[in-house]
Subunit: 338 residues, 2 copies
């Protein structure tokens, strides 16, 4: 049986209140008694029961992290950074992977709220739906604790957003490719999430501003059931064989970009001379292919740091920005020659 505050108080010959004061760094403790108590605490390696503490304080010092799939390269990085930041500030992380099925989100939120977490972090823009009904669960959650969303934006009291301006990043990258002389660009995406839409709109804005005709014909949605890179490559191959020509590829995700490289290799097209490729997320995958993948970096660590900073601020009652927007940047590697 772990020791309780009573055990410690008895051993130190003081009341539990005094032990509690020592534990919580109250000023109203004589230095000698503080030392006496601390010695006992350390000697017996006593740690207070967090549940009991939570009952009194109405706070578990724990944040619920919801994400669709923590094994996804991008999400895993986000979860990792978040957990590190939170821990550094004395908070624990309750991780909950929801999958991409929207129906159960409400359940997961209820579940995690019943644990009396102090806040909720939604990792990934797939948590934001288009209809009000789809997002009701966020509104419900925000009634209990502050809700932070990473990589998406949602306007509501007690909901805070941290994101990268995917639209601008994509726009800039596209402009750069067009200005390098490539105007037949295949745009690959596989998600209609908040951030997925932003990326696409950035691409479209760029193509329009450069007056590229018929660019829509080269926008291809890869069904999300296609998870194997080989299969995606085949899909691109068929698309090309159907008579579409393109000398650039911009993908909403590094995986899709890698598939494009595979397509090129299979079909004897040289990258980047015959085909330029840009990915998104600047993940580890960028360095696995040859040539290495040019990719858009969305400064994930900066985002998570800001998110946690905002959360902690909100929890301590400070006024915090409702929305923090960072800009991404294009990291150039071997799959482009501009």
């Amino acid at each position: 049986m772990p020791l309780t505050i009573y055990d410690i108080s008895k051993k130190a010959n003081v009341s539990i209140a005094t032990v509690s004061r020592v534990l919580n760094g109250s000023d109203n403790v004589r230095e000698s008694t503080r030392k006496k108590v601390m010695d006992i605490i350390e000697k017996y390696d006593y740690t207070p029961n967090a549940s009991a503490r939570a009952m009194s304080l109405r706070s578990l010092k724990t944040i619920g992290i919801l994400c669709a799939d923590s094994s996804d390269i991008f999400l895993a990085k986000a979860v990792y950074y978040l957990q590190q930041e939170l821990q550094a500030r004395g908070y624990e992380s309750l991780l909950c992977c929801t999958g991409y099925n929207l129906d159960l989100k409400q359940n997961y939120v209820n579940l995690i709220l019943s644990k009396k977490v102090d806040g909720l972090i939604l990792v990934g823009s797939n948590f934001i739906g288009t209809t009000e009904e789809e997002n009701q669960y966020i509104i419900d959650g925000s009634a209990q604790v502050p809700v932070m969303v990473l990589n998406a934006s949602f306007d509501y009291p007690n909901v805070y957003s941290t994101l990268c301006d995917d639209s601008s990043s994509m726009l800039e990258a596209t402009i750069e490719m067009v200005e390098s002389g490539i105007s037949d660009i295949l745009y690959l995406y596989n998600s209609d999430s908040y951030s997925g839409k932003k990326k696409l709109s950035g691409f479209e804005m760029a193509m329009k501003s450069k007056h590229i005709a018929n660019y829509e014909n080269l926008i291809v949605r890869i069904d999300s059931s296609l998870t194997q890179i080989e299969d995606i490559a085949s899909h691109i191959e068929e698309f090309a064989k159907a008579g579409h020509t393109f000398h650039g590829v911009i993908a909403a995700d590094d995986t899709l970009a890698i598939a494009a490289i595979k397509y090129a290799q299979r079909n004897g097209r040289s990258v980047p001379d015959d085909l330029s490729v840009i990915g998104y997320n600047n993940s580890i995958l960028t360095s696995c292919c040859t040539p290495e993948l040019t990719s858009i970096d969305n400064h994930l660590e900066t985002q998570t740091t800001q998110l946690v900073k905002t959360l902690i601020g909100v929890l301590s009652g400070e006024e915090m920005p409702k929305k923090s927007i960072f800009s991404g940047k294009l990291v150039k590697r071997g799959t482009t020659n501009f």
Copy 2:
């Protein structure tokens, strides 16, 4: 303010005891009252306070997951599977990333135990040290809750191990490469963890059993500070230029194997004709390179399922196997031609 059991009991005109009985599915409740209470509960969307429950039950229904770096591809997958399995069985996951610095492990364990988790999962063999002193923190932890270690083995009461027989997998893969006619094999590794050692020993056993002379000269440890694939490739390049010849590469990790492929591409060596490569973990990286990487799969999902099954069993007082060992298998792709 969230509703409490008192609020519900008042609204339903029963005592809190009855509400509690309904909540916990006790038999001693008249059907009509059960329904009455349930209606109120659902109407107000009431969920019991987990901390309070934990105080009474001395269980938070929460498992602490410790891992060095949840953004590592392999560990991320493990964490994901574990979280899913635990959730399916009604347990939450408290995630704590420790980094690879051993000194703080004791602190992390204490921290997470103070949250009154019901069990502890150590993900990754880097948690197991060689000296008794290094492992003392596990022993301390096991005094409070069952400790499960994934991908490593540790013998102690209340500590349970689930792992893949890395030694055998590595041995079999090596034998297969040797029997295909390649005996000058570069062995790459970057970790001396429990599982790292097992892999190496499997390789060595194979080489010995095949009577390959001087195989030790081709065993190369990549310093873990080399995280960039390009840098590792350069390292291999230098090693080759120093006069070592090899026509096979077996790596303790897919990342290292990818680096070997990069080395080959840079130096005009064709894979697999001139150089065969085998990786370890069968991660997503295997499909990012060209040709795709042959890799050893350690059946991670099977392991995590078993681990959670064992944990749940232990928690409910059943007798469970102290050690569950699975075997890996070689998944052949383009970097080998046997």
